[in-house]
Point group: C2
Chain length 206, copies 2
Amino acid sequence: MDFPSKLLENAVNEVAQLPGIGKRTALRLVLFLLQQPSDQTMALSNSLLALRNDIKYCRSCHTISDNELCEICSNPSRDHATICVVEDIRDVMALENTQLYKGIYHVLGGKISPIDGIGPGQLNIKSLVEKVRNSKVNELIFALSSTMEGDTTNFYIYRQIKDCEIITSTIARGIAVGDELQYADEVTLGRSLLHRVPFDKEFKDL
Amino acid sequence: MDFPSKLLENAVNEVAQLPGIGKRTALRLVLFLLQQPSDQTMALSNSLLALRNDIKYCRSCHTISDNELCEICSNPSRDHATICVVEDIRDVMALENTQLYKGIYHVLGGKISPIDGIGPGQLNIKSLVEKVRNSKVNELIFALSSTMEGDTTNFYIYRQIKDCEIITSTIARGIAVGDELQYADEVTLGRSLLHRVPFDKEFKDL
């Protein structure tokens, strides 16, 4: 792509470094910004810079936060004896949306994935193990994605804390609410059968 | 969407104002930036701000440019008597890519589109008409998109300059190179038949 302006070229190249955005889309976005009042570009740039420079990570659960301790960890009405282990902040947001979880979280920041060069040392595993050993934790809920990397990470953490007297659990795998059986894969369907729930219990929980 | 951080929420809201980017994609992009070195966010923000604040539009053809007069308009080896009328800068880039056009351009900045509230006054039509009247222009090539709005705009400009002694033309409509006839729409196929080209001429031009 030949650009008539160096400024335009720079902006397009920077935007095109974002994931899933190619040069053509980047050009479209940049030209859109040029057509809008310059306030909008100013607000966009400033909000990104402010986020990058001032963002904090909760010192207890490592989620993104405006303070040293995030809102969930600093909330005394949450159950601090139950920790849900998740991959990143989007999982925290998804679980919070259910309004069914009253414990706290621990954000690993990824999964163990040798192919991507991510080992246990790059994840927030050490602080989790310390937390389990040093404070009163009853239950650890693994809520990682159901992939080989997720399972490996679960198992790695489990081995580090298996001598502690705590309950460990994983979230249930099964047929999604509203899904039809005939389109489900056999592994999921098999698991949903193995881990079937007493009929009266399902209604009590809702 | 409930965000655990005001900074994150602001950044996501700003990014989500770009066309074709929803809140989920915005969150993905913002979290990606957080994982990268802060230099990248800095470079992105600065390039957008620099573009928005320092960008110039060529005073002759209104294309985006780093200088008062763009590279094409200030190039003495281009044919300044032939003007190609286009909608926006992406069309200039596309036509330049063909390496077949040696004239200059005139960027309208859009098409006449009453539905979107765009009238002739918002486009760079007046300066085009002045250019045609006051300087030695031989030919005006309309290269707007082949829509009702494009045709309306072509016709509006044509009426303003039809008393001038210049050639007006539009780019050829027809079957795209590499396309099969059976999949072409009938209007395009009809036009390609009406405006057929002498066989020996096609080879001479290439």
